[in-house]
Amino acid sequence: MFEAISNNPYRSLRAPRVDLRRLRPALPALIFLFVFMVVPLSSLLLLSVTKPEIGLGNYISLLGDATYGRVLLNTFTIAAIVTLVTLIIAYPVAWLLAILPSRVSQIFFAIILLSMWTNLLARTYGWMVLLQRTGVINRMLMEIGLIHQPLPLINNLVGVTIGMTYIMLPYVILPLHATISGIDPAIMQAAAITGAKPRQIFWHVMLPLSLPGIGAGCMMVFVMALGYYVTPALLGGTANMMLAEMIAQQVQSLLNWGLGSAAAFILLAVTLIFYAIYVRAIGLGRVR
């Protein structure tokens, strides 16, 4: 695989110029991705404008029809709610982790990793059992007398929000922790010395300085949530179906390839737009 550069051992010692031969080691991976990703995605795009008939009919009915419009709206609403809830929980946690002694924060990081690395279906199963009508949470709430009827916690917005927030939390806590740890405490001391109250320091110094982390985490969660399939399919209800679930349903059960693939490309376009904003704001170098 390195024969291109091994013909002449001194070649690589010369000043490097534009040299396409150095691209050669990347070819196997490139060909693989081309055959198994670019070709299938392109044929899917073709399906979306040819089935059942040639034209933009699928896109028009997706964007014009009230039922599909609802699915789009649901997708954005749920992604936004999950992002917001995740941020509200993650900020204080990231803050706490930045100031705790590392012996203690290490334990917390281990818990985050454990939850993040546990199989997605295992975690979702856990929430399905916990949240069901006869589940522990409902039973506990009834026992302490807070409620008399079991609350509907699953197959609705509540279930999706809990399940997805659970999955997304690490993706906001980790970048936020990095940003908050990077804030120079001297800046806040300066604010304090010049007479700012803690509340003012938080709103006018700390929060603005942690905006890069907030932006990175939120954008990541929002984009991931837009295309999420498994958790909404298991914890959500038919009333708040999301785009990914609709795509799967169109293709798998209704064999409606045209509409399904058109929906897929709407999702892809939206994802790429938000991703472009993310890269523009943060810079490609800092992505991952």
Binding site: L13, L23, P28, L114, L121, L130
Partner: protein, 266 residues
């Protein structure tokens, strides 16, 4: 003062409380499933009326569960090997190549992480249906490899960027061939990156649900697909025991990586 616990005043107790609650929230389903898997109640009563290992026995006595585990292992191992075989040379090209469009190529290799997996899944589904590959081992490997490759490229590129190429050139000047220099100098130096690439590739394949759902047939299923189809029917405690085994595996992997990180930490 907002970044110093001792001088933060009573506000820190609010932070403590949120921290503890979040830790409990993160642990809740994991611990709950593990406890439930040993409970004797078919209806997932909690606390369980008694303790049993029968849900574990149910996995090991059911050839469908065992087959799906075996399929997952085979697919994940193949994906792991191929992901290094394709990702390692690609990373060399990305780090050392001086050709136009290198950043574009980098972005292309990472793009499977950005494209929502459901879109990849249905695109591949149409593709394998066309070639009659649905439900085959090849279909699973190809699908999982797409999402494993970015992990491999990222891990190896990162460690290769931290490696000074002049060390390799020094070996060549001292008489090693280019291949010797790479295999005996460069690769050993970036072994931690290759190891993480292999680990993440394996895990990406091992945990993949969505691609699996569309690649599977009733005859050939990976473990996550088997869990998915079972979950859609009922919440049997067998899933709890499968999940607990997976959690145990996660903990083992976490301990191994923590150990390796400590050992190789510079």
């Amino acid at each position: 003062m907002l970044l110093n616990l001792n001088r933060m005043g009573p506000g820190r107790y609010v932070l403590y409380a949120i921290g503890v609650l979040t830790a409990l929230f993160l642990l809740l389903p994991v611990v709950f499933i593990a406890a439930l898997s040993f409970g004797s109640s078919q209806w997932l009563q909690f606390p369980p009326p008694g303790w049993t290992l029968k849900w574990y026995a149910a996995i090991f006595n059911d050839p469908r569960w065992m087959d799906s585990i075996w399929t997952s292992v085979k697919v994940a191992f193949t994906v792991m090997v191929l992901s290094i075989v394709l990702g390692l040379p690609a990373a060399f090209a990305l780090v050392r190549g001086k050709f136009p469009g290198r950043t574009v190529l980098h972005a292309f290799f990472i793009s499977p992480m950005i494209v929502p997996v459901i879109i990849l899944a249905i695109a591949l589904y149409a593709f394998v249906l066309k070639f009659g590959l649905n439900g085959t081992f090849i279909a699973f490997v190809a699908a999982h490899l797409i999402i494993a490759l970015p992990f491999s490229v990222i891990c190896i590129v990162n460690s290769l960027e931290g490696f000074d190429e002049s060390t390799e050139k020094a070996a060549i000047v001292c008489g090693a061939t280019k291949a010797e220099a790479i295999f005996r100098v460069t690769l050993p130096a970036i072994r931690l990156g290759i190891f993480s690439a292999a680990l993440f590739s394996f895990l990406a394949s091992w945990d993949e649900v969505v691609l699996g759902i569309f690649m599977a047939s009733p005859i050939l299923q990976t473990l996550p697909v088997k869990m998915w189809t079972t979950l859609r029917q009922d919440l049997t405690p067998v899933i709890a025991s499968v999940s607990t085994l997976l959690i145990a595996l996660t903990i083992v992997i976490m301990i191994i990586t923590a150990f390796l990180r400590r050992r190789y930490a510079r």
